[in-house]
């Protein structure tokens, strides 16, 4: 309070947690793991009509090292599973995962010998999106949900 009275409106105080989370919330860098139809919808999501950059998440990174949001868009097969796991492991903390669409969430209608019945068999998932494929608006909602989630996190203490 002392600083704010002395410097007026030119400064404000907060907690480190809040600043970090505020930054994280508004600058999520997604790694689009687009494998199938949902990947095509992600292209629509990033393009001008829907424009995910309004939520600060337009910096699509294709290196897991630079991303903090894994957007799994499409069917994951058993042949693909080790690769997805490796990419998730390569992402630095803190990281979040969105399972986009029925296939990524539950295997969808591919209930057969080669499809993983939901990516949560391999990696933890924060938000599931229904739809085959989900509309871009649904993905936006998922990103917004995740942003609310990020705000409440106690990130500094967790680190220590």
């Amino acid at each position: 309070m002392g600083v704010e009275t002395a410097l007026g409106e030119s400064a404000f105080t907060t907690t480190l947690d809040e600043v970090l989370n505020w930054g994280r919330k508004n600058s999520m860098w997604p790694f689009t793991y687009g494998t199938a139809c949902c990947g095509i919808e992600v292209m629509g999501l990033m393009s001008s009509a829907f424009d995910l950059s309004r939520f600060g998440a337009e910096m699509v990174r294709f290196s897991p090292r630079q991303a903090d949001l894994l957007l799994v868009a499409g069917t994951i097969t058993y042949k693909q599973a080790p690769i997805l796991k490796e990419i998730y492991d390569q992402m630095p903390e803190p990281k979040w995962v969105i399972a986009m669409g029925a296939c990524a969430s539950s295997g969808g209608f591919y209930d057969d010998y080669c499809t993983v019945q939901g990516i949560d068999e391999i990696i933890p998932v924060d938000v599931y999106i229904a739809g085959c494929p989900p509309r871009p608006e649904a993905v936006m909602e998922a990103v917004m949900k995740l942003q609310n989630d990020v705000i409440g996190k106690d990130s500094v203490l967790k680190r220590a």
């Binding site: 793991y33 687009g34 494998t35 199938a36 139809c37 990947g39 095509i40 919808e41 292209m43 629509g44 393009s47 001008s48 009509a49 294709f62 499409g74 069917t75 097969t77 042949k79 693909q80 690769i83 990419i87 296939c103 209608f109 591919y110 209930d111 057969d112 010998y113 080669c114 499809t115 085959c132 494929p133 509309r135």
Partner: protein, 419 residues
């Protein structure tokens, strides 16, 4: 091997002492070191999905390549053996998900031929119109990201804006943006809504304008020309041997389009041309699609102009669901409805191979029926499969950057490739 290299190096170095300047050949000779192996995919931004190639590199030049697929093998052919004929349609959507309706058409056309059903003219025309619209957006999805791979991002926005408008129309017509499931065996899910023709003509005009802009921006662009002309050419003979069909085959100069060769749905009555390339290089494979979009627009305009009225369903009771009124108030109607939904349409025993021109080439359905309501075996002949089988061979001798552009021009859709 190491010792031999050393000897070569000293031999090359000696003339320098006596005053001769080493030429560029000597310089590059020294650069030739051991081969480096690079995994290109399966999770790589330029592989558009889940394709993998292992490249053996000498510097940046690919001396040898092998491909691997199957990362999106989700068991289409096994799954559909457990579904009735109509329930297969949503699965076909997810083969080539950029132009779902063309897959619907290919599949329903095959089953209708097995049943020996003639569908009404209005249905045929609507299938032509919506199918060609799908072909246009499929080509847009090829063209847009293709130029992104070359660093020309603006073009993506130009074509994707129009693509979104098409999706709005398809959304209104079929209820889904991407995976439409619009066709049924013997008919369509629903008729055009009021004003649909006008909407379609408008989006078609929009697409034509957009690709006009893109062509203006790219066709005379030095970078685009340098990166595509003469890159990874496929001769006509090779293209046939590889089993190429569709735009990739026509880029190599072979005039084969099923819509002309074995016309279905009155394609032979429309006035349109088959664009054909000359060299089969990446340039031809990209720009043949521009011309195809324009030809599709021509077909759509003619089809809308001549769109006949009448029903969209065949009267054949083997496939047509009874009217809702009959289902609820009439025991025969109820039984008919029940049997069609639960047991499926009984297709006579036999086998058929039916081909239609999808966006990437010949989409064949080889269906074996045992006389029940469930297909005994459905084999899809995916056009992408043949294109990607050739990919490792045609990129050899070129550079990694060329491989990226070539892969884009082949337009591999993983859902169709791996099924």
């Amino acid at each position: 091997m190491k010792a031999a290299d050393d000897k070569k190096m000293t031999a090359a170095a000696e003339p320098e002492l006596t005053g001769t300047v080493p030429g560029p050949e000597d310089f590059y000779q020294d650069l030739h070191t051991d081969l480096m192996f690079l995994n290109y995919g399966p999770s790589h931004p330029a592989t558009h999905g889940t394709l993998r190639s292992l490249l053996a590199l000498d510097g940046e030049t690919i001396v040898s390549a092998v491909g691997e697929i199957g990362y999106l093998h989700r068991g289409f052919e096994k799954s559909v053996e457990h579904k009735t004929y109509n329930k297969v349609i949503p699965y076909t959507d997810r083969l080539n998900y950029c132009s779902a309706i063309l897959n619907n058409i290919g599949y329903t056309k095959a089953v209708e031929r097995m049943l020996d059903i003639e569908i009404p003219d209005r249905t045929k025309f609507i299938r032509v119109i919506v199918g060609e619209l799908s072909r246009m957006i499929d080509h847009l999805v090829c063209i847009g990201p293709q130029f992104v791979d070359m660093g020309a991002l603006t073009n993506l926005w130009y074509v994707f804006n129009e693509r979104e408008k098409v999706y709005d129309v398809l959304d209104k017509l079929t209820g889904a943006r991407l995976t439409n499931s619009y066709c049924r065996v013997g008919g369509l899910y629903r008729d055009f809504y009021d004003g649909c023709e006008k909407d379609i003509l408008q989006v078609v005009k929009g697409i034509e304008d957009a690709i006009g802009e893109v062509e203006k921006l790219t066709a005379k662009n030095r970078i685009v020309i340098d990166r595509t002309v003469g890159i990874c050419p496929v001769s006509a003979e090779d293209a046939i041997s590889y089993g190429f069909t569709g735009p990739t085959l026509r880029a190599s100069g072979v005039n084969y389009d099923i819509r002309k060769a074995q016309p279905y749905y009155y394609y032979d009555t429309f006035d349109w041309e088959v664009p054909v390339g000359t060299q089969g290089d990446t340039w031809d494979r990209i720009y043949v699609r521009f011309y195809e979009i324009r030809e599709s627009a021509k077909i759509i305009r003619q089809a809308i102009k001549n769109l006949p009225g009448g029903p969209i369903w065949t009267e054949d009771k083997r496939v047509k669901l009874p009217e809702k009124q009959d289902t609820y108030q009439n025991i025969e109607g109820l039984i008919n409805h029940f049997k069609l939904i639960f047991e499926g349409t009984r297709v006579p025993a036999g086998e058929i191979y039916d081909a239609s021109e999808a966006a990437n080439g010949e989409l064949g359905f080889y269906i074996t029926s045992d006389g029940s309501g469930y297909p005994y075996r459905v084999r899809v002949r995916p056009p992408c499969f043949m294109n990607f089988a050739a990919f490792p061979e045609i990129i050899e001798g070129f550079m990694i950057a060329d491989a990226t552009v070539t892969l884009g021009s082949l337009n591999i859709i993983a859902g169709e490739l791996d099924r």
